[in-house]
């Protein structure tokens, strides 16, 4: 057959492709990887419902137009953008701030054993660690990641020396701000050498209702015996289309804990690609998502056990959906033929708070080894009426009773964060979300 399929590009796709040559001239680093990534994007276009991995999150529909690429902010714009207080302010021993995808400052002290180079600088100087960027085969071909690679403006290259026990979190604060919607692309590569221990915290913040299009990617490469904790907080602008990707390449006997808390944004998608490259590693990958209004949030996860012993993976995703919002969980655990003794357990639990709320759960197991224990569970339901009645019979209002139940429900996904102060901040944000909801309900009931 020589039937030729001609894809008609959308306005957004055309705009992204057409802006590339001009941007290339000013973006740092070698052209090769960017061109290759753009070619990947050109082959697929913006993913839509016909693409299995994007079946429930139609990016093409969400991005009818491509927002213009954000220019580097000047000093005045930076000051304005950073004015609001970050919920995680003061948590990092060192905090790198980014405005619209550009590094604008570093506060605090870089802990010993750690080196941090802004990505633009690293790309410009041909930093040796960049050879390890984009090397996780599991994530190859991913459109969001390809777009990030093609258009990344800045970010960070973080190196943690072998055996270093980093005292206190390394914090990255990404703020998107401006008078109109813009597109940003930031990239972080963190290489953690053998036996080192580190906590990386990223927050993504945006004010107002603008439909910013943000795309961030964090790559973690963990050497044998490393202990990596990762926390991501999504507080994008209300109208944002926010894509984020975490890749993790885990050496032998490593431990990874990653918790993503998503609260705002019109359409957000967080992707995790984790590969157990060394034997006997452990990963705990969690998500806590609270949605209201017309929000849509997607958590997509691929975990590959590719060594023997296959290690232990635990995934816990908790989603609260109110109003007309919708949530997606797609989780896949792959166990390669030689990854015997793999122990994988994945759970996605959603609570729907309204008639119009929707949740799409798609757990998948691909097991090619014969001596493994793998399980998945996906649940979707309303809050338990019996529990609500019990709490209300003690005088607690319906809204507050629901808040107590919701907080404990999503809190389970947050509680795996070992850092107490950061855990408390995230619990506080959940409580804040619930307070706003309770006030809304009480105001409605009073009418």
């Amino acid at each position: 057959m020589n039937a030729k399929v001609t894809t008609i590009r959308t306005a957004a796709e055309t705009a992204l492709i057409e802006r590339f040559p001009a941007l290339m001239a000013r973006l740092p680093g070698p052209a090769g990887p960017r061109e290759q990534a753009l070619a990947t994007f050109m082959a697929s276009g913006l993913p839509n419902r016909r693409v299995e991995a994007w079946k429930y999150t139609d990016l093409r529909a969400a991005m009818r137009e491509a927002a213009p690429a954000a220019p580097k902010p000047d000093a005045a714009q930076t000051t304005v953008a950073l004015k609001g207080n970050s919920p995680l302010a003061g948590q990092g021993v060192v905090t790198l701030s980014f405005v619209n995808g550009y590094h604008v400052g570093t506060e605090g002290t870089v802990p010993s054993g750690v080196t941090i180079v802004p990505l633009a600088e690293a790309l410009g100087s041909g930093h040796p660690l960049l050879a390890r960027m984009g090397t996780l085969a599991l994530a190859q071909g991913d459109t969001a990641l390809a777009l990030n690679t093609a258009f990344m403006t800045d970010g960070a290259v973080i190196h943690v020396a072998a055996g270093a026990e980093v005292d206190g979190p390394i914090a990255l604060r990404f703020v998107t701000a401006g008078p109109s919607a813009i597109a940003t692309a930031a990239r972080v590569l963190m290489v953690v050498e053998a036996g080192a221990k580190v906590l990386l915290v990223e927050s993504h913040e945006g004010q107002g209702k603008l439909a910013h299009q943000t795309n961030t990617a964090v790559e973690i490469i963990a050497g044998d015996g490393a202990d990596v904790q990762h926390v991501r907080l999504g507080l994008n602008s209300e109208g944002a289309v926010a894509l984020s990707t975490l890749t993790a390449d885990l050496g032998s006997a490593t431990s990874l804990t990653s918790v993503n808390v998503a609260l705002t944004g019109a359409m957000v998608r967080h992707q995790v690609y984790a590969r157990f490259s060394g034997g006997d590693a452990r990963a705990q990958i969690n998500g806590a998502t609270l949605l209201q209004g017309q929000q849509h949030a997607d958590s997509t996860l691929v975990v590959e056990h590719a060594a023997e012993p296959g290690g232990e993976s635990r995934e816990l995703f908790r989603t609260i959906i109110d109003d007309e919002a919708s949530g997606v969980f797609q989780g896949k655990i792959i166990v390669q033929p030689h990854a015997q003794k793999t122990d994988g357990r994945m759970a996605s639990n959603a609570v729907l708070l309204s008639q119009g709320a929707a949740m799409y759960n798609k757990p998948e197991l691909e097991i090619f080894a014969d001596d493994v224990a793998c399980a998945h569970g996906a649940t979707c339901g309303a809050l338990d009426d019996e529990l609500l009645f019990y709490l209300m019979s003690r005088g607690i209002s319906k809204a507050e009773a629901e808040s107590l139940m919701i907080e404990s429900f999503v809190g389970a996904a947050i509680d795996d964060i070992a850092h107490e102060a950061i855990r408390d901040v995230l619990h506080g944000l959940v409580q804040e979300w619930l307070k706003v909801r309770a006030a809304r309900i009480n105001a409605g009931a009073g009418v």
Partner: protein, 250 residues
């Protein structure tokens, strides 16, 4: 205090009628017991008084101090001074017992127009009540009722009753699942609150509980209505003869 007139109740969305023309009065300061066989509607009565949404009241009224509470939400009834000790208290994973107790006490205070308790005052009250009921402190640090034994759950119910200070307490088979020591502790918790201002409606299968909580009145319930009312001697008679006479009479 509590006055139930001609109450008819069916399960919501079903035709099954559970209470029919039930009439009952509990005066201020009175301890009334309801005894009856399985399936006579005792638990349903307690749930309807507390406002559980699974039931539909087709006729009648439930008055608390002269006010019909049937239109009130469960939390409003609690604020009005009603308390239900559950037969099967709920386990609520993730909600710390202390958090729950504080939320409940402050919610009721708020509804009554009182200021929230300070944390030291709250802790003082909880500790005093817990000591009285022999509730160890580590139980208070655990999620509410999660992993508690049957007896511990019932004691936690009495702890809540003590802290929330209701004027009308309905106790749904609080004796079920209790050993004799726990039963005594629970009874002491009730007796400590017995005075001319408070009233109790104690629902039970067995006479045993009534050895420790002496009722003023005993009602026999069968097939959804009160079929006989008498003094404490009625409970002894039931213990000796069973419910057979009343089941056929109803």
């Amino acid at each position: 205090m509590l006055e139930i007139n001609n109450l008819h109740v069916k399960i919501a969305d079903e035709d099954k009628v559970i209470l029919r023309s039930l009439t009952l009065k509990v005066a201020k300061g009175e301890v009334a017991a309801i005894m009856g066989p399985n399936g006579s509607g005792k638990s349903t009565l307690s749930y309807v008084i507390a406002g559980k949404p699974d039931y539909e009241v087709t006729d009648g009224e439930v008055l608390l101090d002269g006010v019909n509470i049937l239109g009130m939400a469960p939390d409003e009834r609690a604020a009005a001074g009603l308390f239900l000790a559950f037969q099967y208290p709920m386990e609520i994973p993730g909600v710390a017992t202390m958090t729950f107790l504080k939320a409940a006490m402050n919610a009721q205070r708020k509804q009554r127009g009182q200021a929230e308790l300070t944390t030291p005052e709250f802790i003082k009250r909880v500790n005093a009540a817990a000591d009285l009921l022999g509730i160890p402190k580590d139980m208070l640090r655990r999620p509410l009722n999660v992993g508690f034994s049957g007896g511990e759950k019932k004691r936690m119910e009495i702890l809540q009753m003590t802290l929330l200070e209701p004027k009308m307490s309905v106790m749904d088979e609080t004796d079920s699942g209790l050993d004799i020591d726990a039963l005594k502790i629970v009874a002491e918790g009730v007796n400590a609150r017995r005075d001319p201002e408070h009233a109790f409606l104690v629902i039970t299968h067995y006479q045993r509980l009534l050895d420790y909580i002496k009722p003023d009145t005993v009602h026999v319930m069968s097939r959804g209505r009160i079929v006989k009312t008498g003094g404490p001697e009625l409970a002894l008679e039931l213990e000796a003869n069973g419910y057979r006479d009343y089941q056929s009479a109803a």
